[in-house]
Amino acid sequence: MSKTDIGPPNFRDFLPPVIKENYGKWKYHEELKPGVLLHVSDSGAKIWSVRIGGARLIATDRIREYADIAEKYCGGHLRFTSRHNVEFLVSDESQLEPLMKDLTGRGYPIGGTGSGLTSIVHTQGWVHCHTPATDASGVVKSVMDDLFEYFAEKRLPGKTRIALACCLNMCGAVHCSDIAILGIHRLPPLVDPEKVKKLCEVPTVIASCPTLAIRPDPKTKSLQVNDERCMYCGNCYTMCPAMPLADPDGDGISIWVGGKVSNTRSGPEFSKLAIPFLPNNPPRWPEVTKAIRTIIEKYAEGANKHERIGEWIARIGWEKFFDLTGFEFTDKHIDDFTLSYDTYRSTTQFRY
């Protein structure tokens, strides 16, 4: 048996020499073009980072290709970003152009920096998880194909971060994204009483329901779901395999807008519901890509420089956002969970 608890490798062993020498001494950076950053240190030392987008769900041979490229131009040094892009770390300026050419030649999109679109943080979907209400990788591929221009070329008023989660567990932590794509169920769990008895701890399942929709069923010694109180979060299913929610027509995608993480200007914000449901329409999810393009285009047209999507909407008003996008406002848009009161318009200030 091998050693346990050794922890991850020390990152220092993987840093390129120019970083080791200038660690903590960077003075400024420039975005030379989308996807290409230059960082300059106090000493005048420079490092160029060339960022490419990727699928995130990748084969070992893909990684080996990255390694090949890094060896060719970067002394073997590269990193991944917090949004799953790859950054080739160039210490020798003369390697920059050849690297970029090679990457382009191999079909890798260079971009994702600055005021534009970067990769979509996303999750497993039908590829690997047991609770998804939609796929992840396929939706992401469709959206990125559609918005490709904004990754590498076209600029937007501010950073624009899209994220996807395939169920309400929100492994993509989409709750604070400029645009969030969230898989949702729309039907209550289908309880299999026999399986419940075998596989599930009844009190735990009852406690798992945020709206207290589950009660014991004395007759069957199993569980009952009060369908009227169920909002299909799937948390009971996480605790109990005998309560699946997935359904071809019930499942689909909701779209959220205006979230933000950074503390710049307006501070962090949750994303808010824009579209409660769009159908799962594989392989290209045209309804989803269209909706997102609408948001992006209206934002590009209407926002001031440096305004994130949420800041733009806060300025023009939500009533205007629904007008501009043509998205229908429904009763689902009005919060009715625990903090709902704070969302009500308790002022006469509104636009018609």
Partner: protein, 397 residues
């Protein structure tokens, strides 16, 4: 396998964005059974429903986590993915690699698994996707021998992550990479052996731009900040203006506290009123930079919606020096965990617990004084409690 097996997914080989379908096919060239992943997925694309069974407990010796069990619900149709477990491998802080390190991981994974990965998972781990039960232990052994260890899963400490920080960013107010690496190593047991009410995540960002989204995605967010004045290079400000930046409109007018002014020659900041939002620094990185008295704000409570609704972390300590060995942070975390462990309900994140019992109780238990920096505004409702010792009690009670 011919192309016609997966016509829907084949569609996703087209288009300019890198295609995961190509990668699955690429992996299947070496590992034919991996083609079953694509075939099962094609079925999902037809059915509009997933085809994985619910969970399943599998693992490696000595650990309570790091592996996510996964089985196909149609092993007859897709024997290649009958077992298809995930191994979470703790990434090096900042996701820095040498090509050599990457090749090592790839070789191990090709030996034991299906050849597909996520680089990375959304908590930050290297995700090795699709391993048979019997291959888990050998795979772990090889990883460990090569200097890699598993990441977190279950009701345990999850793999901490950090922004690129001082390695390649001019704004990092503390050493995010070292802090992340240090805490990960210090808390190996908490990471590998689930024993808490629920999961717990640390994320380390070097400045308020928060490039690892720590405020939204971690129970304990350590976000770099400073105490003294923003450093201004007036000449450099003028260069920005000269180069066409509308300093008034783009910088000064967008300052959230309106604490800046610009007269065309000099940029002034009323630092007492600056809330260090980074906006001006972001825009004029050659001219402005964080002050010299640097450290981090400690925020607690961030999480996704399950169960009681999403929360973003909120300020507990406005300013903390962040120097190795990070004792203040470690002691804080340990006290927090003890309290949570004792008081948390099953599957209750620490932020939900604080919310349930009230900040008042939390602060007393942690020995922290209430300060206005913890809130956006003081309570608007009159439903507050007094500690018995604060009020003269009635006779005979």
């Amino acid at each position: 396998m011919t192309k016609t097996d997966t016509p829907l997914l084949d569609e996703l080989e087209k288009g300019p964005w890198p295609s995961f379908v190509k990668d699955i096919k690429m992996a299947a060239e070496k590992k034919p059974e991996t083609m079953d992943l694509l075939r099962q997925l094609e079925k999902s694309y037809n059915d509009k429903i997933g085809h994985w069974k619910h969970g399943g407990i599998v693992g490696v010796m000595g650990y309570g986590g790091g592996v996510i069990g996964r089985y196909s619900d149609s092993p007859d149709l897709f024997p290649g993915v009958e077992h298809f477990h995930t191994i979470r491998v703790n990434h090096p802080s900042g996701w820095f690699y040498t090509s050599k390190a990457l090749r090592t991981v790839c070789d191990i994974w090709d030996k034991h698994g299906c050849g597909m990965t996520n680089m990375h998972g959304s908590t930050g781990d290297i995700i090795l996707l699709g391993c048979r039960t019997e291959a888990l232990q050998p795979c772990f052994d090889d990883l460990s021998d090569a200097g890699f260890d598993l990441g977190g899963s279950g009701s345990a400490l999850r793999t901490p992550s950090a922004c690129v920080g001082p390695a390649r960013c001019e704004w990092s107010c503390y050493d995010t990479l070292d802090a992340c690496n240090d805490l990960t190593h210090t808390f190996q047991s908490e990471l590998h052996r689930p024993m808490w009410p629920y999961k717990f995540k640390f994320k380390f960002s070097g400045c308020p731009n928060d490039c690892v989204a720590s405020i939204a995605r971690s129970d304990c967010s350590i976000i770099g900040t400073w105490k003294d004045d923003i450093k201004i290079d007036q000449e450099a400000v003028k260069s920005y203006a000269g180069a066409g930046m509308d300093v008034q409109a783009e910088v000064v007018d967008l300052c959230p506290t309106k604490c800046m002014s610009w007269d065309g020659k000099k940029l002034s900041i009323d630092n007492k009123n600056c809330t260090r939002c980074m906006h001006c620094i972001n825009l004029m990185t050659k001219a402005l930079s964080p002050g010299d008295e640097r450290g981090a704000s400690l925020l607690v409570g961030g999480k996704a919606p399950i169960l009681e609704g999403a929360q973003m972390s909120w300020v507990i300590k406005p300013f903390m020096k962040m120097e190795s060995p990070y004792d203040e942070l470690k002691e804080f975390a340990e006290t927090l965990w003890d309290w949570w462990d004792e008081n948390g309900k099953m599957r209750e994140r620490v932020g939900e617990l604080i919310n349930r019992v009230g900040m008042r109780v939390f602060l007393r238990e942690m020995g922290i004084k209430a300060i206005p920096q913890m809130v956006k505004f003081p309570r608007p409702n009159p439903y507050y409690f007094w500690w018995p010792e604060e009020v003269p009690q009635r006779e005979g009670k």
